[in-house]
């Protein structure tokens, strides 16, 4: 059924549009004046002002690999992140840890670990799925490059971004 929306009855003054123009001009002039004197500005002017101090705890920035306080690279190249990654951004080449090494018990470490930052969607699935607490989404959000190859983070770069992370759970420890 058609609904008839009643049109408001306008007074003769309102029909000239002039009172509306005057009221509207008052509003726009107020905004103009406020912004002219620097009040009411809501834009963050990006390269000079940054989000960094306003980022929430749970912010999902670039994924990166971490080293723990024992100097061990946490990743054991189980490739779970590679399999879970929705856009298939992660490529891992697993490598053996030779017997006699300090960390020989973990058997494997990535020989190469690549995350294609053009594909990455910052979903955090890799962090979620990692059984070894090896990959974390950092608060960095600036990924730039002039070529496609620049946008692929390799193992070295990933450890560089991730850095040292302490207080992680070691499966062989009693506490924590």
């Amino acid at each position: 059924m058609a609904i008839t929306v009643p049109r408001p009855d306008l007074s003769a003054a309102e029909k000239t549009y002039l009172p509306a123009l005057w009221e509207g001009l008052k509003v726009t002039a107020r905004h103009f004046k406020n912004n002219l004197f620097g009040k009411g500005k809501v834009t963050m002017e990006y390269p000079e002002e940054r989000w960094d101090s306003h980022l929430p705890e749970y912010y999902r920035g670039v994924p990166a690999l971490v080293t723990d306080e024992h100097g061990k690279d946490r990743c054991v190249s189980c490739q779970l992140c590679e399999f879970i990654c929705p856009p298939r951004a992660i490529t891992i080449t697993p490598g053996e840890i030779p017997p006699g090494d300090t960390f020989a018990k973990t058997e494997k470490r990535p020989q190469e670990f690549k995350i294609d930052m053009i594909r990455c969607i910052y979903c955090g699935m890799c962090e979620e799925v990692c059984p070894e607490q090896a990959i974390f989404l950092q608060k960095d959000y600036l990924v730039v490059g002039t070529r496609r190859e620049d946008m692929v983070h390799d193992k070295q770069k990933l450890y560089e971004i991730g850095g040292l992370k302490t207080g992680l759970v070691n499966k062989w420890d009693e506490k924590k």
């Binding site: 509306a20 123009l21 001009l25 726009t28 905004h31 103009f32 912004n35 002219l36 834009t43 002017e45």
Partner: protein, 393 residues
């Protein structure tokens, strides 16, 4: 000096005036586009263009000169010049190329008859001091519609076509009430020369503010001159004329709230949908030049043109007096600056209106033009004629 130059020397001041006026108008056009973006940004709580400075580092300096985006028009101009100039395959090339020129030229031509100052070094500050200046302005301004119609037709696309048709219908409708709204002014002043219209206002008070030649004397006896019943009564029709003329200028220059020819939500870009690069820039410049010309006309006809009333207390009397270039070069320059100030004020008012009002519907636009403004303008003429019959000069 060789003899054969002598008879041509009179051209020199004219050429200087033409070049200076052209440069100033083009500068105003460029910076009006920046002002529009800045004003709209401030009205909408944004920042607006604030980046473009002079890239001095390219010339070997240490730092770029960044002054709040003031060089944005330069960057825009450069961009327009360097962009690919695309002529689509489905257009009529001759008219397609002619249209941008036909839009920008009339807008710039009109300014020739507008007096932008009193006198300077004995020369009248107007490019073409013609006795039919008034008619010249209207004749040339209405030529501007051909550019838009041509652009719409030659583009051979439905958006451009609808934009062109809308624009021509709108301009022709409003031209009528625009012309009629000014007949009362002509009745009062009896003058078609825009320079003389301004001079009349300088000595008898502005059309819109008839008390700008006020004189109050308290010693030796009380006397008030400069504002009489005739002026007060004529003030009413003059206000009506002002409202109609200003609104018609909005419609003539295709500015919001009458920007139906290029209403981007319906018609993509309107009549200039198919244009790119410098040809688009020509339409853009034409629009802004038309706006500046329109503001200059409103200033000339209603706001006293270059006239600035100087308050002076002398011999027991307060009076608002007129100073022209004949009183000294500085006064002449002040007159020019006054004119520029008034025009810039009006341009900013135009921008405020654009970012305040929503667009009219097409039937509202036509109703406003034909039913209201046309009739009111006609009645206004009769009113002024009757008033003038009772209060002759």
């Amino acid at each position: 000096m060789p003899d054969f130059i002598q008879p041509w020397l009179f051209l020199l001041p004219i050429i200087i005036k033409v070049v200076v006026v052209f440069a100033v108008v083009m500068g105003l056009v460029a910076y009006a586009s920046l002002a529009e973006r800045k004003v709209s940004a401030f009205i909408q709580d944004r920042v607006g263009p604030n980046r473009v400075g002079l890239p001095l580092t390219l010339l070997g300096f240490k730092k770029d000169l960044a002054i709040g985006g003031l060089f944005q028009p330069l960057a825009d101009g450069l961009k327009f010049l360097l962009k690919e100039d695309l002529t689509p395959g489905h257009v009529k090339p001759f008219y397609y190329w002619l249209a941008p020129a036909l839009t920008v030229v009339p807008a710039l031509l009109t300014i020739a008859a507008v007096p932008f100052g009193s006198t300077l070094f004995g020369y009248k500050m107007v490019v073409a001091d013609i006795n039919v200046g008034f008619l010249f302005v209207f004749a040339i301004a209405s030529v501007g519609v051909y550019g838009i119609v041509m652009a719409g037709w030659s583009s051979n696309s439905k958006y451009s076509f609808l934009g062109g048709v809308r624009s021509s219908a709108q301009m022709i409708s409003y031209e009528l009430s625009m012309g009629l709204s000014l007949v009362p002014l002509l009745l009062v002043m009896g003058e078609l020369n825009l320079g003389k219209i301004v001079e009349y206002q300088a000595w008898h008070g502005w059309t819109l503010l008839p008390f700008t030649d006020l004189r109050i004397q308290w010693s030796p006896h009380w006397e008030i001159s400069g504002l009489n019943w005739r002026e007060i009564l004529l003030w009413i029709p003059m206000l009506i004329s002002f409202v109609i003329f200003t609104t018609a200028v909005f419609a003539e220059t295709n500015r919001a709230p009458f920007d139906l020819p290029e209403s981007e939500t319906e018609l993509v870009g309107g009549y200039h949908t198919e244009y790119s690069s410098m040809k688009f820039a020509c339409f853009f410049m034409g629009e802004y030049a038309a706006m500046i010309t329109g503001c200059a006309l409103i200033t000339t006809l209603f706001l006293g043109g270059w006239h600035l009333p100087i308050p002076i207390i002398h011999d027991g009397a307060f009076s608002l007096q007129t100073r022209t270039g004949d009183h000294g070069t500085l006064w002449g320059i002040l007159n020019i600056l006054t004119f520029l100030g008034k025009v810039i004020f009006l341009v900013i008012f135009f921008m405020f209106v654009r970012w305040t009002l929503p667009r009219f519907r097409y039937d509202q636009l036509m109703r406003l033009g034909w039913v209201w403004f046309f009739e009111i303008a006609l009645a206004n003429i009769v009113l002024v004629a009757v008033l003038l019959a009772f209060f002759p000069k």
